[in-house]
């Protein structure tokens, strides 16, 4: 399975946000998409999952153009999306949130899904009867990722999972994504936390003002003087 974005342009109303973006994510690969606030990272993810229509360019799923596919249909193909700010259902329990993740994408694999996410995040098992709104920030982020995993995605888009988390928790969450990748899922990780992302990712793209300005293997990106200066203040 291979997700490919070709020359993507889009925006809101008259304001263009993405100016011809290309990237590729394969199965079993953790790819980081780095950039500052307002660079267009979230817009890119929303366009990939079909919530925003592209102006020009394509989103390809194993070579097939997804243009006419609704978000729900893309999800059924195996495209998962963990939205920015977690977006849990706060008045539902942890278990119900997870069940929702499976209900429309992989209802027959619900039990398997529960085993998988509870193995990945044992803390969610301890809290499964608790309301999602009462979890800590880190646990909520884990739940958001787990909910997406319940649908057995082949490619998972994760939007700013470290947002608002203490450094230790941010690290824990990003390391959990590494284990997701080891199970064969492809992950496109959008992050502002450059140092931490480059630690877990295999490859990385750096996006500025809606364009890819740098790409390569994570360690190479980490060594790039521009990245060191602009994002790591070294």
């Amino acid at each position: 399975m291979r997700l490919e974005v070709q020359n993507l342009e889009t925006g809101y109303g008259k304001a263009q946000v993405l100016f011809g973006l290309d990237l590729v994510v394969g199965e079993g690969e953790l790819v980081a998409l780095l950039g500052a606030n307002g660079a267009g990272k979230t817009t890119l993810l929303r366009t990939i999952s079909g919530l925003i229509p592209p102006w020009r360019g394509k989103v390809l799923w194993d070579g097939e153009d997804l243009r006419r596919f609704s978000p729900a249909r893309r999800a059924r193909l195996g495209l998962g999306h963990v939205p920015e700010g977690r977006q849990l259902f706060p008045l539902m329990t942890v278990e119900e949130n997870l069940r929702l993740g499976a209900a429309f994408l992989a209802p027959e694999r619900e039990r398997e899904g529960f085993e998988r996410v509870f193995a990945l995040f044992p803390r969610l098992y301890e809290r499964k009867r608790q309301l999602a709104g009462t979890l800590s920030g880190g646990e909520q982020q884990m739940l958001a990722i787990a909910r997406a995993l319940m649908g057995f995605p082949k490619i998972l888009l994760v939007d700013e999972p470290s947002l608002g988390l203490a450094p230790r928790l941010a690290e824990e969450v990003l390391l959990s994504l590494k284990r997701v990748v080891e199970e064969g899922v492809g992950v496109l990780l959008v992050e502002q936390n450059v140092a931490l992302s480059l630690e877990v990712a295999a490859r990385a793209y750096v996006v500025e003002h809606g364009r890819i300005v740098l790409q390569g293997l994570a360690h190479a990106v980490l060594e790039d003087p521009r990245v060191r200066e602009a994002y790591l203040s070294l």
């Binding site: 999952s49 079909g50 919530l51 609704s70 978000p71 729900a72 999800a75 059924r76 998962g80 999306h81 939205p83 977006q87 259902f89 008045l91 539902m92 329990t93 119900e96 069940r99 929702l100 993740g101 209900a103 429309f104 994408l105 209802p107 309301l131 909910r147 997406a148 649908g151």
Partner: protein, 305 residues
Amino acid sequence: MKGFGHFPLILLSLVLFALLPFLPFGVWQAFLLDVGFFVLLFTALALSWDLVARTGQLSLAHGAFFGLGAYSAGLLAPQLGTLPALLLGALTAGAGALVLGSVTLRLHGLYFAIASLAFSEVLRTLALKLPFTGGPIGLPVPPPFAGAWPLATYYLSFGVLLLATALSLWAERSPFRLAQAATRQSEAVARVLGVRVVQVKLWSLLLGSLVAGLAGGVYGMKTLFLSPYDAFSLGRAVEALVIPIFGGLYTTLGPLVGGVVLVSLEQALRLWIKEGYLVVYGAILILVILFLPRGLVGILGRRRG
């Protein structure tokens, strides 16, 4: 699953209503059956509104669905007989819902509410102006089954409530509940979790309108007379939304309890203090909304999600 805890209570109230005509109330019998009829009918209407509200859509079109059902059933009953007329009345309301839904369901919350209000106004104007509706003079409706059975309207009303309860319980127990809850809380997230949001909203509106149309049909057969201002009244749409808010939104028990309490309260107040009843009624509503934000069923200590 959630909701099963309420099941005995729901069943008990249904059995009570089924037996109401046979309980010994003496001189109060006829009055209580009248009150019971309206309790059943408006509770069913409230449940059908809640069914739509569970997708996050605030419908002000339930008066219109009610009126569509009432007028269609009223016009068709002399030719087709009671039950086919009621069925076609419900289907007309359903067709109206599909028209409204296909145009407006991409709208959300308040915008949908305004569109549904406009829909309701348009239909009332049609009922006033069309040549076959009787216009402002109104439309006489024959009693059900040619008046052969005095309890017919009561049990028809009971049947509508049974259907509404069954639909609501089904929606609460099946994956449909998750689809509705997800749609209500965040459409974007629901979409990326594979929920076909527009379909879920359209189905909810369709099911809700069928029940509302059926209730309208039975209403006409009880009052034996329909006028556009009564059948398509906005007050009906408001009642349909006040009852679930009063009883507890997004549940089966909430509108059920809310309907029984609120409609009987309304009838009793009307009897005791005549014209001024709305003042007391309004005060009670405000108090409940202030102090029981989750409605009467909130007292039972169950959360809603």
